[in-house]
Amino acid sequence: MKNEHAARPEGKQTGHGLLFDGVTKGFGGKVAVRDVSLSLNAGERVAVIGPSGAGKTTLLRLAAGALRPDAGAVTFNGSSVTGSTTTLAYQGETLVDRRTALSNVLTGRIGALSWLRGFIEPLLPRHPEPALERLGAVGLVERADVPVKSLSAGERQRVAFARALMQDTAVVLADEPTANLDPSSRRNVIDVLDAALNGELLITVLHDVDLALKHFDRIVGMADGLVRFDTPAPAVTDDQLDSLFAAGASTPDTDAEGTGTEKESEAPVPRYV
C-alpha cells in the first residue's frame, strides 16, 4: 500500500491538506497535546505511534473536530475542521450492539439526510444501497442483517470502517483499529481499510509498531503530547523507537489511550470533559 496513492491528483489540488498549526489541548490540569504542528496531504497513509497517554487519540479527535484546540488551529484546505470535513472511524466497540450491521452503517450518513429522515433511515432505510456498498467494500455485505453483538471483534471493526466510509470525506481517521484483535485479524483489518479507501488521507493511531512500519507511508511518533519524530516509514530507526517508548515509560504493546474500550473507561481520562 505504500506510496500507492501518494501521487494522486487530489494531493496536488488540495495544496496544504490537513494542517496542525501549534495545537495545544489539555483536560483539567493535564496537557494531552502540546504545540503540535503537522502538515498532512491527501492520499498519504500516516500512522501515529507512541506510548500510552502520549496524546495520540487526542490528536485524532482534534483532527476530527470532536475536540477544539485550546491554542493553535486544525485546518483542512484552509478552513477549520468540522465533523463533516473529516471522518473518525471509531472502534468496533462503539457500534450499537443490538442493531444490525446495516443499521449501524446507515447511522454514518445521518448528517446528509433531512432532519426527519435522519431518525427513520437507520431503522427503515429507503436507500440502503450506499451502506450495502460500504459493507461490500469491507467484505461483510452478507452479514448486513446480523446484529452487531453476534459479530467477531474483527468484523465489528470492519463494520465501524464501513460506517465511517459512509461520510465520503477526504480525510479518514482511525483510532486503534487493531486493538483487541489477534495478529492475523490485525493485518486483515488494515488490508481491508486500505482496499476500501480511494485516495483519502488516512491517519491511524496504532499501538502495533511493526504493523505501522510495514503498512504505512509516514510515521509520526508521539510521547508526552509532543511529536518526537515525523518521518517516512523506512527511515524510522530503532533508536528513535527506543527513545520514543522510553520517554513515555511504557511498552509499545499496551492498550493505548482514549479509545472507548472497557479497559479505558476505568481510567480517569478526559473522555467526559
Binding site: A64, A66, R68, L88, E93, T107, G111, F119, A160, T259
Partner: protein
C-alpha cells in the same frame, strides 16, 4: 497470585476477628434499628393479648371456607362481581402503565444530563446552550420527584375528587405516580450510557436528538423494557388497593368486606389478589427473560 493474596488476607482477617470499624458499624445499625422500633411503637406482645387472639381466631373461623357464591363472584351483570373487579384491576394496571411510559419517556429524556447538557453531545456547545439544558434538567428532575413522592393512593383520591368514582381515576393515579418512578429510572439509565458510542453517531453529522435516538437510546432499550415490565407488576399490587378510595378494581371488595366484617368474602378477595399478583409476576418474568 491475586487469589493467593486474597486467600491469605481472608485467613488473616478471620483470625483477628471483626475489625473495630465493623463493630462500630454494627453497633450504629443496632442503635438506628432500636430508635426506629421505638418511633414505630413496636410491641411484640400486642400480638399475644387476649383481644388480638380472639379477633384472629374469629377471622380464621369465619374466613374459612372462602365465599364462592355465584352472585359474589360473577355479580348480576357484566360489570359486577369479584372476578370483574379482578379483570378491572388488570386493565387499570395495563392502561395506567402505558400512560405512565408515555409521560415518562419525554420527562426521562429531559431529566438525563447526557441528553440536556453534559457529555459528548455538548463538548463544543456554547455556555448559553448548556445553561438552558441545565435548567431543563433541574426542572424535569423536580417534576419527576414530585410525581413520585405523592403516593399512588393519594393521587387516586385526588383524581376521584376531580373526575368522580371509577377505574379511570385509578388509571390516571397509576400513570402519574409511575411516570415519576419510570422517568427517573429512564433518566438514570440514559446517563449511564457509553459516551464513545454516542460520540461516534454524533460524529457522522447527526443532530443531538438524532444521536440520542440512534446512539444513546438503543444502548438502554432492553434494560428500560425490563424495568418497565417489573414496574407493571408493581402497579398491579398498587391498583389492588385503589378501590379503597373508589378508584376501581378489586380493592373495593377488600374494603367493603372488611367494613362489613364479611370474612368469608374477604378471604376470597385476598385469594383473588394473590392469584392476580402471582400470575402477573410469572408473566412479567417470562417476558423479561425473552427480552434478555
Amino acid at each position: 497470585m491475586s487469589e493467593r493474596y486474597g486467600g491469605s488476607d481472608a485467613t488473616q482477617r478471620a483470625s483477628s476477628g471483626p475489625s473495630k470499624r465493623q463493630l462500630t458499624t454494627l453497633l450504629g445499625g443496632c442503635v438506628i434499628l432500636a430508635a426506629a422500633a421505638w418511633i414505630a411503637e413496636v410491641d411484640p406482645l400486642a400480638l399475644f393479648t387476649a383481644g388480638a387472639r380472639e379477633q384472629m381466631v374469629a377471622f380464621v373461623a369465619e374466613g374459612v371456607p372462602p365465599e364462592t357464591g355465584r352472585e359474589y363472584l360473577l355479580g348480576r351483570s357484566l360489570r359486577e362481581g369479584l372476578l370483574w373487579a379482578v379483570v378491572e384491576t388488570l386493565a387499570i394496571s395495563v392502561v395506567g402503565t402505558t400512560l405512565a411510559v408515555a409521560l415518562a419517556v419525554p420527562l426521562g429524556l429531559t431529566s438525563a444530563a447526557t441528553v440536556t447538557h453534559r457529555g459528548p453531545l455538548y463538548r463544543n456547545a456554547s455556555a448559553g446552550r448548556i445553561a438552558v439544558g441545565r435548567g431543563l434538567y433541574h426542572t424535569s428532575r423536580t417534576v419527576l420527584s414530585f410525581l413520585r413522592s405523592v403516593p399512588g393512593i393519594v393521587w387516586g383520591f385526588l383524581f376521584v375528587t376531580a373526575i368522580g368514582l371509577g377505574p379511570f381515576a385509578g388509571v390516571l393515579a397509576l400513570a402519574v405516580h409511575n411516570a415519576g418512578v419510570l422517568g427517573k429510572l429512564y433518566a438514570d439509565f440514559l446517563e449511564d450510557t457509553d459516551p464513545m458510542t454516542i460520540e461516534a453517531v454524533a460524529g457522522s453529522g447527526a443532530t443531538r436528538l438524532q444521536a440520542v435516538c440512534h446512539g444513546m437510546v438503543p444502548q438502554v432499550t432492553p434494560t428500560i423494557a425490563s424495568y418497565t415490565l417489573y414496574r407493571w407488576e408493581c402497579t398491579i399490587r398498587s391498583a389492588a388497593i385503589f378501590g379503597f378510595v373508589g378508584a376501581g378494581g378489586v380493592g373495593y371488595y377488600l374494603v367493603i368486606t372488611i367494613q362489613r366484617l364479611q370474612y368469608g368474602k374477604l378471604s376470597t378477595a385476598i385469594l383473588a389478589v394473590f392469584a392476580l399478583v402471582v400470575t402477573s409476576d410469572w408473566l412479567g418474568s417470562r417476558l423479561r427473560t425473552r427480552l434478555g
